[in-house]
Structure formats: structure tokens, C-alpha cells
């Protein structure tokens, strides 16, 4: 079985990679992954785990790379309730908040 996101995160750190962690902190309506779901990201853009059914992972990876660069955490929100406000949507019609944080020494 593939290791879970936190295990993967530690393995990447142990091999010297810079990493960030994305976590689903809130969901509304139908959303594919429950609160607490983790996705580990490393500076190459590789990721492990998921925060949706594949709909927003690309955008979250980009935000994670940004967090690695800036060293600052960020709360992201995705949904389809207001098309103008969201660059990336969830086909299921739900809405999710994702917390992205760099892993620091």
C-alpha cells in the first residue's frame, strides 16, 4: 500500500526535500474528501494524498509551492457557488477550504 501523506512527508524531509502540507479544514455540500484529509507536496511538485477527487489538486500544489517559497501558511477556498470568485471549481457542486502550510525545521 502507498504510505499516507504524513508518512510520505517525513520520508521526503529525511531525504532533504522542502515540503508543504495541505489539509481540508472545512467542507460544505457534497465534497469528495472529508475534513482532515491531507496532501503532502514537495518542491518538485510531486504530491501524495488528496484533498478532492482530483479537481483542485493542481491549484493546491501551486499554492503549496508558493508556501514553500514564502514560508507562510494560507487558507484556500474552492467551490462553484460564485463562478466569478473561483478560478478552480468542484464538479460535484461542493465547497472546500484547504489550509496549506510549509513544513519548517
Amino acid at each position: 500500500m502507498t504510505p499516507d501523506a504524513l508518512t510520505q512527508l517525513q520520508e521526503w524531509i529525511a531525504s532533504g526535500h522542502k515540503t508543504a502540507l495541505a489539509t481540508v479544514i472545512a467542507t460544505w455540500g457534497s465534497s469528495p474528501r472529508p475534513v482532515g484529509s491531507h496532501m503532502a507536496v514537495r518542491e518538485s511538485g510531486d504530491f501524495s494524498g488528496s484533498v478532492s477527487g482530483g479537481c483542485i489538486e493542481g491549484a493546491v500544489v501551486a499554492a503549496a509551492l508558493d508556501a514553500i517559497k514564502t514560508g507562510s501558511p494560507k487558507v484556500l477556498e474552492y467551490g462553484v457557488t460564485d463562478e466569478a470568485a473561483w478560478e478552480v471549481g468542484l464538479a460535484c457542486g461542493g465547497r472546500v477550504q484547504v489550509f496549506v502550510e510549509p513544513v519548517t525545521a
Binding site: 500500500m1 517525513q10 513544513v103
Partner: protein, 228 residues
């Protein structure tokens, strides 16, 4: 997240100790909560009580004040009695679904010959083995041997435990006889009604793997119904 918190968290999870990571999503400051609290985020006593209540009920989420609480609970367990064909399908399927699986069977040959290399096994009689595993309210117990000598002691132990799911393989006729024996052993009908028998959702499953799907689906349905 800093590396110290991540390491501590991993070690707590490896020891299967429930805990919570509390995050101020504005600042990124965090506290790791067990019996003690470590980290750079200060928590008021009232908040700490709320966090501990959430650990007890395994509920992650954002608190009223805006803090995010991620609860890490040990995996839900599944205890399978009988290293039989259905167990060989059910054990890996349940593992994929995130269960911590243990197979109990006193017949070493069954355990060794089965395809159960990656599954924890206790080669012992179910009454002794059930004493060791101590089913709790996050444990499912499934008996698959068809043999009252093995199934019944496990079911008795399960009925005396707070296991969230108890299932027993066997036809309606077999199950009726089983209920008679358990009644003779002193279990009331209200208590034995906890047993799902015949085990599994009715999807007309026929092969061992299909029966495993129906059992796992029923276990998940019961688990989620309780959480709702």
C-alpha cells in the same frame, strides 16, 4: 507545521495514541494535544476542554474561535474469526479501506496457507484471543468459520464488548440455531439482535470475494450511520 510537531505526531500515531493538532490558520502556530500540550500555540483551558472532547468523539473541524482541530484516532479495527477463504479476501479489502485487521484462528495451517502474509494473526482459540484484542467501540467483529466451537466463543466475547459491529456468517437456518445456543448461554434476544446474521448486505454475493464486499459494505454502513 514544524518538524518537531510532525515527528511527535508520527510517533503518537505509531503508538496508536489518540491526539489532536490544533492550528491557528492565520499565523500557522500549532499545539499538539494529548494528555499534555506541546507547540507554540497557547490554548485557553476552555478551548483545551473542547479539543479533548473532540479527540474523544473523533471529530476534526474548525472551532467557533477559528482554530482548526485535526483529530488523529487509531484506525478502526476489524477482528476476523477464521482464516478461511472469505477472510483472505475480506482482510486485504478492509485494510485498503483503512481498517486495522486481525485474523484469529487456532488452526495454524489455515493461517499459514492462506494469503494473509500482510495481516496480523493470532493463532489461538477465540476466547483467549478475544481476551487479548479487547474489542472496543471502534472495533468490528466478524465470525466466518461456520464452526460453533470457534464462532460462538468469539460472539459471546463480542456481545459482552462495546464493538460497533458484530457479524456472523451462516444461512438463516444456521443463524437461528446460533441464536438458540446464545440464548441458552444467557444472552437475551435484545442482546443477540446486535449480531448481523446472515452477515453482509444483500447483494446476492456468491464468491468469497463478493461476500467480502458485502460484509465490508455493511460494516462501513454501520460505522457511518453511528457517526452521523
Amino acid at each position: 507545521m514544524n518538524l518537531d510537531n510532525l515527528k511527535q505526531l508520527s510517533s503518537l500515531r505509531a503508538r496508536k495514541q489518540p491526539c489532536a493538532l490544533v492550528t491557528d490558520t492565520q499565523s500557522g502556530k500549532q499545539a499538539l494535544v494529548t494528555d499534555s500540550v506541546v507547540g507554540d500555540l497557547e490554548l485557553a483551558p476552555a478551548i483545551l476542554d473542547t479539543v479533548r472532547a473532540r479527540i474523544a468523539s473523533d471529530r476534526s473541524g474548525v472551532l467557533d474561535g477559528g482554530l482548526f482541530v485535526r483529530v488523529y484516532s487509531p484506525p478502526t479495527r476489524m477482528i476476523i474469526i477464521g482464516a478461511v477463504h472469505i477472510a483472505q479476501a475480506l482482510a486485504p479489502m478492509a485494510q485498503l479501506a483503512g481498517f486495522d485487521v486481525t485474523v484469529i484462528d487456532p488452526r495454524e495451517a489455515f493461517v499459514r496457507s492462506g494469503n494473509l502474509a500482510n495481516v496480523a494473526a493470532i493463532i489461538d482459540w477465540p476466547d483467549d484471543a478475544m481476551e487479548k484484542v479487547q474489542p472496543d467501540m471502534r472495533t468490528a467483529v466478524v465470525t466466518l468459520t461456520h464452526d460453533p466451537k470457534l464462532d460462538d466463543p468469539a460472539l459471546c466475547a463480542a456481545l459482552r464488548s462495546p464493538a460497533f459491529y458484530i457479524g456472523a456468517l451462516g444461512s438463516r437456518k444456521t443463524h437461528a440455531k446460533r441464536l438458540d445456543r446464545l440464548k441458552d448461554a444467557g444472552f437475551s434476544a435484545a442482546v443477540t439482535a446486535r449480531i448481523h446474521g446472515p452477515v453482509g448486505l444483500d447483494i446476492d454475493a456468491s464468491s468469497p470475494a463478493e461476500i467480502a464486499v458485502s460484509i465490508l459494505a455493511q460494516v462501513i454502513a454501520v460505522l457511518r450511520a453511528e457517526a452521523a
